[in-house]
Symmetry: C2
Subunit: 469 residues, 2 copies
């Protein structure tokens, strides 16, 4: 299979070249892309960067002391790699700390549960909340319920996340996490505990942000592990009346200053035009932030470093942005869009790596429809590295997802995310979950993408509108 690819893809690629873009500069760009792939696959720099971040900093919740350690780590690391420019931009971020979390079934059988607070949740009273639970298959089922069914109870949304290569199961169930507390509170619930938004069967709860709504009571919100949700179902098979005692002590502590940390390989002929490759620097607090998003930090940094090392500078500037406070609401991404608004017209294209370290199998973009074929042709060389042409419906990744609203073209380098939601937002987000070879393949893909985009002479604008946000 592998050797078959090696035989036929270069031919296909050369054919494309001959047909569409036979000028020598383009051939040279494609050759550089192949060299970047070779160098990336022979290097462990991406892995070394994640290793460094997870060992020397570890968990780094936005606005905490560890977050500032991460920012300092990033500045030092980027400077040590010799980028043309390294700088940081202040971002005001909300500070939320987890505190303790515990839950017990008190009837019909006493059992402790493994839970964690959802990000942004308020605390329970000091003595906890004790109430019967009311179970719903989905957020929609909760929405359809009467106030009478829910009032005074702890809502339990029991929606299992399905495993898919593109992680689409998450998109379906995460609505219960983000919006469940508001819907539950509107119907008089005293708290909400959801089945973890995760594809694993480990006894670890998955955290992640939830939201409140002005004018709706703020009720405590937590997730239980998948085996605990199974346990509750075991009890519900025996009786309708399952009582839970829930204790959470998270705290919102106002705001603090964090930073988007930025490095650049300055463009030679069009230095003011930007190819942005990003990742986020913050992480949740229970793991060491290896797959989310240490991997992305390693991938885009190592990719840009390969371009920095080239004998010839790229035409456009390649800008690495390590975003602040993604987890708690894309705060760094929004700040970047706001602070760089004047410059966004000069952003040629943007992409964020924030889906772990699984191999990239496809390149989706969002560019002018008439430019789509040219971009597919231009990036055809990436098939050598397993990255096949995709669609024209990319959103670009969380922290760049708002840039299309400003007319900026984006790309999504789609990773194999089959195991991503096994570990996502849990203590299990640790370095051992990263396959160094897969990470290097990501570095190769980002290096090729950034290089080819920096050299591209295709006009990508105006971009098509998003169908769904």
């Amino acid at each position: 299979m592998k050797s078959k690819q090696v035989i036929w893809l270069p031919l296909a690629f050369l054919g494309l070249l001959t047909a569409c873009q036979s000028d020598t500069s383009n051939l040279k760009n494609q050759n550089v892309a192949l060299q970047l792939q070779q160098k990336a696959l022979a290097s462990d720099l991406g892995y070394q960067i994640v290793e460094s971040l997870t060992v020397e900093v570890g968990p780094r919740m936005a606005g905490t002391e560890k977050d500032i350690q991460a920012v300092n780590w990033a500045v030092t690391k980027l400077e040590s790699l010799g980028f043309d420019k390294v700088y940081k931009e202040a971002v005001e971020v909300p500070v939320w700390v987890r505190g303790d979390a515990s839950a017990y079934v008190t009837a019909p059988f006493t059992q402790p549960l493994v839970i964690t607070a959802l990000g942004g949740s308020v605390a329970t009273p000091e003595k906890g909340v004790t109430a019967e639970i009311v179970r719903f298959d989905t957020l929609d089922a909760l929405k359809a319920a009467s106030t009478q069914e829910v009032e005074g109870k702890i809502v339990f949304i029991d929606h299992k996340t399905e495993r898919h290569i593109d992680g689409k199961g998450y998109g379906i169930t995460v609505r219960g996490r983000s919006k469940g507390a508001v819907t539950a509170a509107e119907k008089g619930a005293v708290a909400i505990v959801i089945r973890s938004i995760g594809t694993d069967s480990d006894r670890m709860a998955h955290t992640g942000m939830m939201r409140y709504k002005e004018g709706v009571p703020r009720i405590p919100a937590a997730a239980m592990s998948n085996p605990d949700a199974d346990l509750i179902n075991g009890m519900l098979k025996r009786t309708d009346s399952v009582t839970l005692q829930l204790y959470l002590s998270p705290e919102s502590r106002g705001t603090a200053t964090s930073y988007n940390v930025i490095a650049e390989v300055t463009g030679s002929s069009k230095p003011e035009e930007i190819v942005l490759i990003g990742a986020h620097l913050d992480s949740w607090d229970e793991g060491t932030g290896a797959i989310d998003d240490g991997a992305g930090v390693g991938i885009v940094t190592a990719a840009a470093k390969l371009i920095q090392e080239l004998p010839q500078k790229p035409a456009r500037t390649v800008r690495v942005v390590l975003y602040a406070a993604e987890e708690i609401g894309l705060v760094g991404g929004k700040a970047y869009a706001r602070d760089h608004q004047q410059e966004l017209a000069k952003h040629y294209i943007a992409a964020e790596s924030d889906f772990g370290a699984g191999r990239i199998y496809r390149l989706d973009v969002r560019v002018n429809d008439s430019a789509f074929a040219d971009i597919q042709s231009l990036t055809g060389v990436m098939a050598e590295n397993g990255v096949m042409p995709g669609n024209n419906e990319a959103n670009g990744g969380p922290d760049v997802s708002m840039l299309p609203d400003y007319g900026v073209p984006v790309a999504t380098l789609r990773q194999d995310g089959r195991d991503y939601f096994d570990y996502h937002h849990t203590p299990n987000d640790t370095l051992d979950k990263i396959d160094p070879a897969a990470l290097a393949q990501n570095v190769a893909a980002y290096a090729q993408f950034a290089w080819l985009m920096a050299q591209s002479e295709v006009e990508l604008r105006p971009i098509p509108a998003k169908q769904d946000k």
Copy 2:
């Protein structure tokens, strides 16, 4: 593969029958064994029993209130299944409660670790213990170290457990867990934290018993998860000086009364002779005790129930023993051996299921060498269910491992334990880790074994001495 087995094994088995044991009663016994297999594979009783134990009781540390709940559950369950006799025998058990556990690396980089106290450990002082760690590859390396290297430090034994079908990796590394604290304390260590004795890479620490020694200081003992041990190694690559702050608050609370719970199918012609199939009822406290040893409880109970339901009673009595307090030192097993000493001469053979719910692939025994071939012949029918003839060196399982010292023959029905030590002694020991089909295969094997042994006319004694204990 499957259909091939179905074709040739019955022929081989019938061949054996013709050659060795052509009498009609034996043929009838073998036919009953085949019927037992069919019934077991068509039934989910074993799984229903584990489900009931894990949902209705859950964690059940010896000597705690939950342990007594488990005993009451067991008596009720066994009575409801209609066994000829159900009774319990008091066992005095030590009581140890886990309390809280936390650990932080304080230098060179601040990071929280995921740890758990080892069973039997003393607490740290209330403010914890803070000291540099000293790392050893193995217990033997610690033994070879000088006092100077260890004094005043926290010992870190970093021995990885290898994955094997028979779990032999555990036997190698568990010595560090059980004996490490004594060796470390003899050299002046202030505490010990080991790499978890587990084959997983989940951020969960594996608990399990450790021992102290009269006259040697009792130092706090804990395990960290495998990813945490990797993290410490990442730091040790950068500096020799890694400082840990460790806090544990376990408590030994004297003794309490627990019970071995026993059920019998009374033998027809030799009721005073016993075929013992056992499992242990207690569990560690962090999971729900599904694979350790709810699975065993389900397997041996469901197997005996199949024999209870037969139209013809077995010649010997089949006795199910659900042992108390296995985890904290085989307390129930030792009590049984002591309390039943007069009766042990009448124990035909004994086996315990305490290795999860993986499929049984082999039957090892410990019987008189001259009886070995006959027993292999007699149990040849078990190959139909995937259980192949094994060796004559069985130890029988933890709670029956002392019975050979009293001359009692034992058997080990070897299970596929490749994933057992991923979950063993962690919060991950939950019902979802059990494959109902594999559990039913276990029930079939135990039912066949117990039946064939109850009918056997082979003299099994005197048994060969153990080579290693």
